[in-house]
Symmetry: C3
Subunit: 142 residues, 3 copies
């Protein structure tokens, strides 16, 4: 049944998306690609998600207003969207792992009273979700 020219297919696996919004004043202070990589590894290490499905990205906000608006105030806000169906315990475990990884990576920022970090998990309704992933066949055949 192996199909060498595997076409893109609808898959039923979860679709974890981690999106970071961050204040632009973190540029030069945080290596965002490295942070994305660390968080992706933390997601994979939970064992709950498939390698080819994980997408982490950071969106820079050039304009922002944080707390008392000191120019050094900064934030990273993370949203983790996953397919429905996991247990509450698994979701809690995944969130805790991601948040711990982010805290470790960003520890230097917490040395000053000007940084806020947050994470939210939200489930995606499978009935209202569509996917086409050309990366899966490559990684599944490894």
């Amino acid at each position: 049944m192996l199909n060498i020219e595997t076409p893109p297919v609808r898959e039923d696996t979860p679709l974890p998306h981690l999106t970071l919004d961050y204040s632009a004043n973190l540029d030069g202070r945080v290596d965002m690609p490295a942070l994305c990589g660390e968080l992706q590894q933390a997601i994979l290490d939970t064992g709950l998600f498939e390698h080819g499905a994980v997408r982490v990205r950071a969106l820079r906000a050039d304009a922002y207003a944080v707390a008392d608006r000191l120019p050094e105030n900064a934030f990273i806000d993370m949203s983790f969207r996953i397919g429905a169906g996991r247990t509450a315990a698994d979701k809690k475990r995944a969130g805790t792992a991601i948040f711990a990884a982010a805290n470790a990576f960003l520890a230097p920022l917490f040395a000053t009273p000007h940084f806020a970090l947050s994470l939210e998990i939200r489930e995606i309704d499978a009935e209202l979700s569509w996917k086409n992933n050309a990366i899966h066949p490559r990684l599944r055949n490894k």
Copy 2:
């Protein structure tokens, strides 16, 4: 009752917002404004949404980590937010139409095992939604 100088008003029509997050390595490979236009047309062609209400936009993520982190790995993740009240069948039809239009436009990317596309539909609670649209009066008077 016609008011020539139609003021901006709260309207009761749906408010479709389509947001694309994409990895910055697609710059130069995907014509994002053209893709936004194609998707907007697909939304209008469903007949479920009003012309003046549709807003499609793409947000570039300069930092990201996708699957096995090959530099050529890329993604577009779409979120379609609509007013509540449509039938499940209509929502399914709208999502399928949008996803088909995106797949057609992005077909060249699927020729390589490095691209992932996704779409989620989410409803907006009308009780917790506010709108002011100066475009509607112009298009409704046409």
Copy 3:
């Protein structure tokens, strides 16, 4: 019980996040940092949120398609995410205040039939939320 070296702690207070998506053709026409500041003040003036918790930011969309795609068509779409537990009346009041502040700031844009403004409030599940805010101790000790 006062701890001079207050460590970052998990707090139970609400976590208001206001995110603006906007079309890039508003650059030079809207002072986005000033708008973020105005909206933050409107959020604080409701009395429902703690100073150190509020984060407002604006994300620019370089590619977009709005309504009939005239080049001057523009939009700002706001999402306000808050901790669960407020009354419906409080949520309505907060949204109305934020929306009024945005309308006042952006009044010049509504003089033309090319601008659309929107706001959605969405609650965050406290069970699936993590926070670490180094700004709180500083402001709470003031």
